[in-house]
Symmetry: C2
Subunit: 345 residues, 2 copies
């Protein structure tokens, strides 16, 4: 058994590995501190298409195609494409899957989707059900504002706790040891384990304060991971969260500290990495595409180079909908985590 | 390798099995020909709650709890709950997962969600990552009308090709051979294999004609399954689709026939089983909860009793959103299939 009874954490003994990745982002993300790492920066966030939603789907498709082309593969050659996005009925991923024509498994974990996809893809690969699986996730500032907040034309001011949804996509190729590969972008970045999240809800109803809503879920999963595996935060070079932002990150530190883990010195948040203070994005970046694009452009190469030896990649998602907010429901949140480490065989 | 290169079909050599199930439906479904088979029929489709959305989530939670209670288990004892629904950002499943407090993986495959969940749960169980997984899916007539069509208060007439979204939920418990179980509802109903769908899009844009949109996806997956496994339709006691309805079923027969498979004599559609002609639901039932509730109340007991020896359970999903329809996009569809059969060890 690769998962102990009553525990959320699991191990992947057959060491599925990430062999390639790609990230495509928008203009503002390209102007940020990580700008030079992305595979492609779109100067026009419509990509010349008729809607932001089409553009978002196209960015996800491009990331998947690029990640595959780096290892000389086409979408026809993969076993499964899986992923999702923030839009209703995950249309970005669904429409991208239509173009890719690969077998498709749609996933919804809000901004935790990239980690959730990596968990499922790694389990399927470890279990012998796939040799090559592509995980992808995307978000788009303008499509998200339309979906969750106000029409952009209104020019509504952001609240101080708000985060800016990242326009971007990331795709990672997970392969089994047996996969028929001629080349790989990364030597051996294995997904060696992880932790499946439980839904947490502290009763927060403010959809402009996602960091506060999601921090308890991140703390729950990170602390469960550390406790179940009997390790300290320092076991990881970095514990990376998806998009807690400035406010949520502080809350995460407090919540973990209360549970006996001081993670502050080993923690980074993709939402804080992707934009600089000068870019005026309030509490940082957010969205499925935030941690997906940072993982696929910055984190994986840092693991490959040895700058990071072992990473706990933890993405949090807020499982609200525009309707649930209007109906006054609080925001249930979830966090999923995967362990990424460079290993030598 | 449990999945051959370039193929969509897979096998599950460790024979994960379905050990329990439960279905909760609404009043109209209870009045239909399958009424006596459901575990629970809700006389009030709000369940006394403030919104249809809350009621839908509660029905899913109830189905999961009932399925588990039949085998003396609680949600705290399972490895993972997975599933989804039709609402934006799968709030029914997300909110149900919050109450169940199990590790949760959110899935989105529209009306194919039950089959997609069974695929992933079976792979995770077969691969050793879960001993007990619960798959669940739900839909609600009133919440779906609000989500995808018109306010019910308008009293809009249905078009002749329309189907009625089923108010109902189904949950099935998938267990490994090693699972620590004292009892089981079913002797040994194994999930022995299946086929992951590809997205199909024939350019249909009419959201009131889902059967026609989804039939090509069903044909694609069923024919891929038969061809890849080199079997004829008669290999199955029944090939069951989710909710193609009257019109979509006819189209499915034609499309399969064109590909060399005559499935008419072995095919049933849950959307046609759940309502009678007298109930005036136009082309039949639809929704995630349609095939989920029929599977969990009628089909599994029929496999258990030997009335059905071997079933290809194929659920189709239309991957549209209200927004994509308004933007004039066509409706990409997908179908996933699992093989269910009673085996003796």
């Amino acid at each position: 058994m690769k998962k102990k009874k009553g525990m959320q954490s699991f191990i992947l003994p057959n060491h599925p590995r990430i062999v390639s990745s790609s990230a495509v982002v928008g203009k503002k993300e390209g102007e940020g501190p990580l700008g030079s790492y992305f595979d492609s920066v779109c100067e026009d966030d419509t990509l010349g298409l008729e809607s932001w939603e089409r553009a978002e789907s196209m960015m996800l498709e491009q990331a998947a195609r690029k990640a595959l082309s780096k290892i000389g593969k086409t979408p026809e050659e993969i076993d499964v494409f899986m992923g999702g996005d923030l839009l209703s009925q995950i249309i970005s991923a669904g429409f991208a899957a239509r173009e890719l024509r690969s077998p498709f498994l749609g996933i919804y974990g809000a901004c935790s989707t990239m980690a959730e996809s990596l968990i499922i893809a790694s389990m399927l690969t470890d279990g012998g059900f796939a040799d090559i699986a592509v995980c992808g996730s995307s978000s788009h500032f303008s499509s998200s504002e339309r979906e969750f907040r106000y029409p952009l034309e209104m020019g509504t001011q952001s609240s101080p706790t708000a985060q800016r949804t990242v326009t971007g996509s990331g795709a990672a190729v997970v392969a089994s040891v047996e996969a028929d590969l001629e080349t790989a972008v990364y030597g051996y970045i294995a997904v060696t384990g992880g932790t499946i999240g439980r839904v947490c809800d502290y009763g927060i109803t403010d959809a402009s304060n996602m960091g506060a809503a999601m921090a308890p879920a991140a703390a729950s999963t990170i602390c469960a991971h550390l406790a179940e595996n009997v390790i300290e935060p320092g076991y990881y070079s970095r514990i990376i969260t998806g998009d807690l932002g400035r406010f949520g990150t502080q809350m995460l530190y407090e919540l973990c500290y209360e549970k006996g883990f001081d993670i502050e010195n080993v923690h980074d948040d993709c939402g804080l990495m992707i934009f600089s203070n000068e870019q005026k994005v309030m509490c940082g970046g957010s969205g499925c595409g935030c941690c997906a694009s940072v993982l696929c452009s910055v984190l994986l190469p840092m693991i490959e180079s040895g700058d990071l030896e072992r990473v706990l990649f933890t993405a949090t998602g807020a499982l609200l909908s525009p309707l649930s907010s209007l109906q006054g429901e609080s925001i249930p949140c979830i966090a999923h985590a995967v362990v990424l480490e460079r290993i030598s065989l």
